[in-house]
């Protein structure tokens, strides 16, 4: 499975976490692929940090530089959507108005610590709105490929990268498995199609428990 397929598979599984009537915030990277897999019969409002609620799909034509998501790419506005300023956008986020926030991750620890803002000396994207989303969202789902390109596991006992927020991730979806973090304990909930338990055990850098249905 190449990286592109892995990303699509993760996004497809993540889409199943979104229910009717939800307010959803999507990070950049893999999370931005999630809407492609969403059941179109659901009423869902996507929110973004720059100041928009009710984002619709990328416009087919006449893209407008002043109507964009938090990554700066053009979007549209659904009926009932609204524009507001960034302070109001983050007010919603911190206040807990976002039902689920789906973020890309560099590492997640068994306790739910999220690292996704910096690789010292290599990549400096900056933290953006991730800290507030991790703080305020009712449910925080981290998406990432299961391992680095060199095979290093991204699910770890303790993050080696600088942490964005401690104890915030509730669910991890990778190309191999779905984990929950419940009461500070990492739990394997599902194997992704084609993955096996020994493979997941080998490629995960932290201890986890199993739900009964997984074997």
């Amino acid at each position: 499975m190449d990286m592109g397929d892995a990303r699509q598979i993760i996004a497809q599984r993540a889409a199943r976490e979104i229910n009717d009537g939800m307010i959803v915030n999507l990070g950049i990277g893999i999370p931005s692929l999630v809407p492609d897999y969403l059941d179109p019969s659901l009423n869902v409002f996507f929110q973004a940090e720059n100041g928009i609620l009710g984002m619709g799909p990328t416009p087919k034509q006449n893209a407008d530089g002043n109507l964009s998501n938090a990554a700066g790419y053009p979007v549209t506005l659904l009926k009932g959507g609204s524009y507001f300023d960034s302070a109001v956008a983050f007010g919603m986020i911190r206040r807990g108005c976002v039902d689920v926030s789906i973020l890309g991750a560099l590492q997640v620890s068994a306790a739910g610590d999220l690292a996704n803002w910096i690789v010292p000396g290599k990549r400096v994207p900056g933290v953006g709105g991730a800290m507030e989303l991790a703080y305020g969202a009712k449910n925080l789902i981290a998406l990432m490929t299961h391992c680095e390109k060199d095979g290093q596991p991204k699910i770890v006992e303790k993050c080696t990268l600088p942490v964005t927020t401690y104890h915030c991730v509730k669910k991890i979806i990778t190309d191999l498995a779905v984990f929950s973090i419940v009461g500070g304990t990492l739990r394997l909930d599902e194997l992704m199609p084609g993955a096996t338990l020994p493979e997941v055990q080998e490629k995960t850098g932290a201890k986890f428990i199993l739900v009964n249905s997984v074997r």
Partner: protein
């Protein structure tokens, strides 16, 4: 979009009020206070309510109508001067009043509504209105800490709402309503007009519907303003209803 439709009627709202709740209310001298929701609150029979709002209204206007029934235990407000009965209840020990500078009060409600943990200010330091609020030293400078305020229930008056709860206000009836809407665990809106999603200009929406739980249609103000009364003393003006 049925899952985003929040329009209901007062029979759904009445049981949401409960004894001992903290109730935030929008409005400034009654202007922008939701008349139907105040009456619904009165009819609900709840007591021992902790109120937070700009002021005590007038005895027959806004939250003043409820305060006069002696079913509020406490009130955080910037003034009660327009409601002499509130002043009497305070002096009799029946209503505990905490005065706050007006702009500080709305910022405290905002701080709660946007999920922050309060703010620092110099305003009110060294005066009676400092109460026992903590002082905080940052570097060499000392400030007063103002805690965020949130409510169990917030009641708000809008000019227009769409069915999702996006709100537009009317002139100076906006006042504290946007922040009261943000700071309630359950925010209930009374709106003069309710329209479908997509009918409000998304640029002019003041409160996005994400904050709103329930919307009820309004019949408008059911009181006379003090400048409409033949006798302009708020002491003697008779209830309008």
């Amino acid at each position: 979009m049925p899952s985003f439709n929040k329009v209901t009627d007062l029979s759904t709202i009445r049981p949401l009020f409960f004894d001992g709740m903290t109730l935030l209310f929008g409005g400034f001298g009654g202007v922008g206070s939701p008349p139907g929701l105040v009456d619904c609150l009165i009819e609900s029979g709840v007591k021992n309510v902790h109120l937070v709002g700009n002021d005590a209204g007038f005895p027959w206007i806004g939250m003043g109508k409820f305060i006069c029934l002696e079913r509020a235990t406490s009130l955080i407000a910037s003034h009660i001067g327009s409601n002499p009965i509130a002043g009497e209840l305070m002096n009799q020990g029946k209503l505990q009043v905490e005065f706050s500078p007006q702009g500080i009060l709305v910022e405290r409600i905002r701080s709660g509504g946007v999920g922050l943990n309060g703010f620092l200010t110099e305003i009110g330091m060294g005066t009676k209105l400092e109460y026992n609020k903590p002082r905080v030293k940052i570097g060499e400078k000392e400030f007063m800490y103002e805690a965020p305020i949130t409510g169990d229930v917030s009641i708000v008056y809008a000019k227009k709402a769409d069915t999702f709860g996006n709100l537009v206000f009317d002139k100076t009836a906006r006042n504290t309503n946007p922040y009261v809407a943000m700071a309630g665990k359950i925010t209930i809106v009374e709106a003069d007009e309710i329209v479908e999603m997509g009918e409000l200009n998304p640029e002019e929406i003041i409160v996005p519907g994400i904050y709103v739980k329930h919307i009820v249609p309004s019949k408008g103000y059911n009181w006379k303003w003090i400048w409409e009364m033949p006798d302009k003393s708020s002491r003697n003006a008779p209830p309008a209803k």
